[in-house]
């Protein structure tokens, strides 16, 4: 009995302080929710999304918000694990979130898609590329879906009339295996490939994978940029000097890793992406300059750029709806706001931002925008 009584006291104490902290009353802002890896292995991608969304919201609020109504970001940490999304989703609903950026990773995103269906909570995900993420009417993607990213990449590789390519992918990651599956389906049958895979448990030592791929002159890497940088650094004198690394949108930000001097990599590095973190002019250039000043270079990547665009796309759609007579206030429910935004996104709403110009969305939630073939670095001259 002693144990039970003593610990019930502890429960009340904790509940009290937590309840007090979280219910900070109904402030008059439009709340934008976000669930992403703010800690753990994938924290660098989650942090980029959180920082960029904050930056966009500050800019919008600085020049008046939505007709005087300020926006507010509620970023929750899910460590890129699907079992944590449930708690974050409930916190969002109870904090009065009206619109959201969904999840940062595909694995967690699947859970968010299912949970948000009944509440009709609108989400525009910056980087959850799974094909099934936007399957419900309230779901949209700012990033390419695996299928079209995999398809685009295969189309590009087919055009290079190579006979053999290497593939480096992460076998325990939904993003990597999702794109690779589509890539293989669209690859010409005459192109053979050697596959090398790694998992979260072997992120640093890739020597076995290098041995498998050392004779390939073209290596397709549907992986995020941290393991990509690791592979390139470790393989720089083992793989042909004029080989080409070709990645997808996860590749962007490879130069931002602190201490990583990309010129020491002899091979060419290119990617299919909707953002180039080396941009200097236009919207992308402004974003890169401002982000680097505010948050530093080490979390500058396309996850952030895409999140920045998501906030502006939602804001643009809301502004357009208000101009068209729709009424949006801090009290508008998530359900109503979703209907308003769906009307815009399924309609003729076009958005131009850091990751694309004249971007439109289909009612299926998939984005149509021009994929850029971005060369991060040419083969070293010597």
């Amino acid at each position: 009995m002693k144990k039970i009584l003593s610990l019930v006291l502890a429960v009340l104490m904790i509940a009290g302080c937590c309840a007090a902290l979280s219910s900070c009353g109904k402030s008059n802002t439009i709340k934008i929710g976000m669930s992403g890896p703010l800690t753990g292995d994938a924290a660098v991608y989650g942090k980029a999304v959180q920082n960029s969304a904050d930056m966009a919201i500050k800019e919008i609020n600085d020049n008046g918000g939505l007709n005087g109504i300020m926006l507010e970001l509620l970023p929750y940490d899910d460590q890129a694990k699907s079992e944590n999304v449930q708690t974050n989703y409930a916190s969002m609903i109870e904090a009065g979130v009206q619109v959201s950026l969904g999840c940062v990773t595909t694995g967690a995103g699947m859970e968010f898609t299912a949970l948000s269906k009944d509440d009709n909570l609108f989400f525009l995900t910056p980087s959850a590329t799974g094909d099934e993420i936007p399957q419900n009417p309230n779901g949209y993607q700012m990033c390419f879906a695996d299928s079209n990213q995999g398809g685009e990449a295969a189309k590009y590789v087919n055009s290079l009339n190579l006979s053999h390519i290497g593939i480096l992918y992460r076998s325990d990651d939904a993003y990597s295996t999702g794109i690779l599956k589509q890539f293989k389906e669209n690859l010409n049958s005459n192109i053979t490939y050697t596959e090398a895979s790694f998992t979260t448990n072997q992120p640093t030592d890739l020597s076995a994978q290098i041995d498998l791929l050392k004779d390939c002159t073209f290596i397709f890497c549907p992986i995020y940029y941290t393991p990509a940088a690791t592979f390139m650094l470790q393989a720089k004198d083992k793989i042909a000097k004029d080989a080409v690394y070709y990645g997808c949108d996860g590749f962007d930000g490879i130069e931002s890793a602190e201490g990583f001097d990309i010129s020491t990599i002899p091979q060419k590095i290119s990617m299919l992406s909707h953002f180039d973190s080396k941009a200097t002019e236009g919207l992308a250039g402004d974003y890169v300059k401002k982000y680097t000043e505010t948050y530093g270079k080490d979390t500058l990547n396309q996850f952030g750029a895409s999140a920045y665009d998501c906030v502006y796309a939602i804001f643009g759609a809301m502004k357009k709806a208000v101009e068209a007579g729709k009424e949006i206030t801090a009290e508008t429910s998530a359900y109503e706001l979703c209907e308003i935004l769906k009307e815009q996104f399924n309609g003729d709403y076009t958005f131009s931002g850091v990751t694309g110009t004249n971007v439109t969305w289909q009612s299926s939630g998939y984005v149509t925008k021009e994929a850029k073939y971005v060369v991060i670095k040419e083969v070293n001259a010597n």
Partner: protein
């Protein structure tokens, strides 16, 4: 010829696992506890190298700084987290070690941010090709360090006074205390050596691939614990053998494309088979309970 390369990769990978495993097995032998935070000492050593490189820029100085820092950290962790629990149930100490491990990882993320750091200055590139066999310089250095450490440890345990005292304490702590051995000092020395080896292991990992994140030490720690058990927990030569065996299994499994995604299953599967055949590990001596 791929097999040879895979073998060489396995030896260099096994070398790093062996260094970490020696730390695990010594601490287990002496303090009868599983120091789950041992893997994270590697990560802390990495960040110590990162800071020193910013200040001084010399990899060798960075390594020495990392070793010194890790030794201090290892001894402090033992002094404040484990010593109070001396005599408590081993499970309690295990849970504290788990707490220390997650504390080190989260403090590292607070101090250095979540983005990975690339320690290019530490990285050693360049390979030697003999016919179709490629041996990278870092593999040679790792193997050299592994051999040096193995020889040093074996001599230390056999011929040095603290070394023999360590063996005595691992055999029977109370008896050793009666023989005038200051067991607390010996346990502190064990943690110091274990942490120093962890720093060197961190160095060997970073010269190969210089990516440093706050979760760098997590999985290698578990692999090293597995290696220590394969070799027979508590036996230093066992830890060395277990580390090499595990490294080779992992490298070979990764070199076969179809098998690569199943590498974890292959490694742990072979571990179970070894333990079923030799319940006390390859070199462990089965302690027969006196009836």
């Amino acid at each position: 010829m791929d097999f040879i390369n895979a073998l060489i990769n396995g030896l260099s990978l096994g070398g790093t696992y062996a260094m970490i495993a020696i730390g695990y097995t010594m601490v287990y032998g002496i303090a009868k506890m599983l120091n789950f935070a041992h893997g994270d000492i590697i990560m802390v050593g990495g960040y110590a190298m990162y800071v020193t490189l910013l200040l001084v820029g010399q990899p060798i100085v960075a390594l020495i700084a990392a070793i010194v820092f890790c030794v201090i950290l290892g001894v402090c962790v033992e002094r404040f987290a484990y010593k109070p629990l001396r005599g408590a149930s081993p499970l309690a100490v295990l849970i504290t070690a788990i707490g220390v491990s997650s504390l080190l990882q989260s403090l590292a993320q607070i101090a250095f941010g979540s983005a990975p750091k690339m320690l290019m200055a530490v990285q050693i590139s360049g390979t030697v090709t003999l016919g179709s066999i490629h041996i990278a310089y870092y593999t040679i250095l790792t193997l050299a360090l592994t051999v040096v450490i193995m020889v040093a440890m074996t001599l230390f345990v056999k011929y040095s006074k603290p070394g023999r005292a360590m063996v005595a304490v691992s055999e029977d702590r109370d008896a050793a205390r009666l023989m005038g051995i200051n067991t607390n000092a010996i346990i502190a020395i064990t943690f110091a050596i274990g942490s120093a080896l962890a720093a060197v292991a961190g160095y060997c990992m970073l010269i190969k691939s210089p990516t440093l994140t706050n979760t760098l030490g997590a999985m290698p720690g578990i692999k090293a614990f597995t290696a220590a058990v394969i070799g027979g927990i508590g036996s230093i030569p066992g830890a060395m053998l277990g580390g090499i065996v595990l490294g080779v299994i992992e490298a070979i499994s990764l070199s076969i494309p179809g098998l690569a995604p199943f590498t974890d299953a292959v490694e742990f599967g072979i571990l179970i088979i070894i333990l079923l055949v030799k319940p006390a590990g390859l070199l462990g001596k089965a302690r027969r309970e006196k009836v």
